[in-house]
Amino acid sequence: MPIVVNLDVMLARRKMSLTELSERVGITIANLSILKSGKAKAIRFSTLEEICKILDCQPGDILEYMERGDYNRLMRKAG
């Protein structure tokens, strides 16, 4: 889907690891990995709220909308 999750970008900016984020937010590393890799189908507002609180950012910093063509190119590059 054309919504890209830039979680790794925010983690790098805040110099935080995925493990630390998972411990502080209360979500398993497996679920965070699903979110980071773009395989997630949906995210609860409560989860987004917790992530934004821990990373001190806005939802728009983590979630980005892309056109379908650009998204497919990005996925091909990542794959």
């Binding site: 979500i27 965070l32 979110l35 395989k39 997630a40 189908k41 949906a42 995210i43 609860r44």
Partner: protein
């Protein structure tokens, strides 16, 4: 709005089609009453004494009359028994089978030699018109039918006048089971017997797998918490396809076999119409449709579960 009304429309169309075809078949099966008068002589031996009665003069002593009456009664019983063409062995699977029938002279014997029997392939689902009948005479197979002569007026209503005629046919007939019996040799009987049993066993195994094994596997998967699984969806689709294939085979196979034996079976014998055959399989088609719909529901459930699982 249209999507919400779709199941109701589909249900209404299905019910209407069912009742239309059911009503159409019922009307064809119940002809209107027509007054008829068919004459056949009591002494007529043309139909193997089927309509005959014992002719005895008044001067016949009682003991002699009793002897003749018993003998005549026994002969009539034997003839009727032979005409019924009851099987004394063989196998029947649905519309096709192989049968062996005792020869007339062996009807009341316990002799089980091959020579004591006649052998046949039997094809089911046949019937003779109401006024026609099958009988055996001197080892030949015959059909008695009505030949209509004239229409006469009797008390202000028409009466069709006719008489029985006969013709020889190459096949035997069991009117109780509606089976046409095509004569074959002992060797052909053994070959068909083996082939039919092997086919039946294979077919039964396949049917058990599709209609018992797969649904059982689906239930087992559900009990293990894997309800909306791709495997379950695949199995449910297979069950639906299996039912559909079974219904189509059950409709087409008798027609194919009949076509193969068309030169043997006289046109006097009639079968159910094509639409009647389709109607007989209504519940099988309904079952296939039901399984397809359940598979669709499970597929939707699978997608919802995926979304739920991948909701963080």
């Amino acid at each position: 709005m249209l999507q919400r009304k779709w199941p109701v429309v589909a249900l209404a169309v299905s019910l209407a089609a069912f009742f239309y075809f059911y009503n159409d078949m019922s009307m064809k099966e119940t002809p209107g009453s027509i007054a008829t008068s068919i004459s056949t002589s009591d002494a007529d031996s043309s139909f193997n004494y089927l309509y005959a009665s014992l002719q005895i003069s008044d001067s016949t002593p009682y003991y002699q009359y009793k002897k003749m009456a018993d003998s005549f009664g026994q002969m009539q019983t034997m003839r009727r028994l032979e005409n019924r063409s009851i099987s004394h062995g063989g196998v029947t699977y649905g519309f096709i089978g192989v049968n062996r029938i005792r020869r007339y002279e062996n009807l009341h014997t316990a002799n089980d030699d091959d020579s004591s029997f006649r052998y046949y392939i039997s094809l089911g689902g046949y019937e003779l018109p109401a006024e026609s009948f099958f009988f055996i005479q001197n080892g030949t197979y015959n059909v008695g039918y009505v030949s209509w002569d004239s229409v006469q007026q009797y008390e202000d209503r028409p009466v069709h006048m006719g008489h029985h005629e006969r013709k020889r046919i190459p096949v035997r007939f069991n009117s109780e089971d509606g089976r046409v019996l095509i004569p074959i040799s002992k060797r052909q009987y053994d070959a068909f017997n083996t082939g039919l049993q092997a086919t039946y066993i294979s077919f039964s195994v396949v049917m058990l797998f599709f209609f018992l094994g797969l649904p059982a596997q689906v239930l087992i998967n559900i009990s293990k918490g894997r309800a909306f699984d791709l495997k379950n969806i695949r199995y449910l689709n297979w069950v639906a396809i299996g039912l559909l294939v079974y219904a189509l085979l059950d409709i087409s196979a008798p027609y194919l076999v009949r076509f193969y034996f068309s030169s043997e079976i006289p046109s006097d014998f009639t079968r159910a119409t094509f639409w009647q055959t389709i109607l007989e399989q209504f519940w099988t088609f309904f079952g296939a449709a039901a399984f397809f719909m359940i598979a669709k529901a499970f597929k939707r459930g699978y997608k919802l579960q995926q979304e739920q699982d991948l909701t963080i």
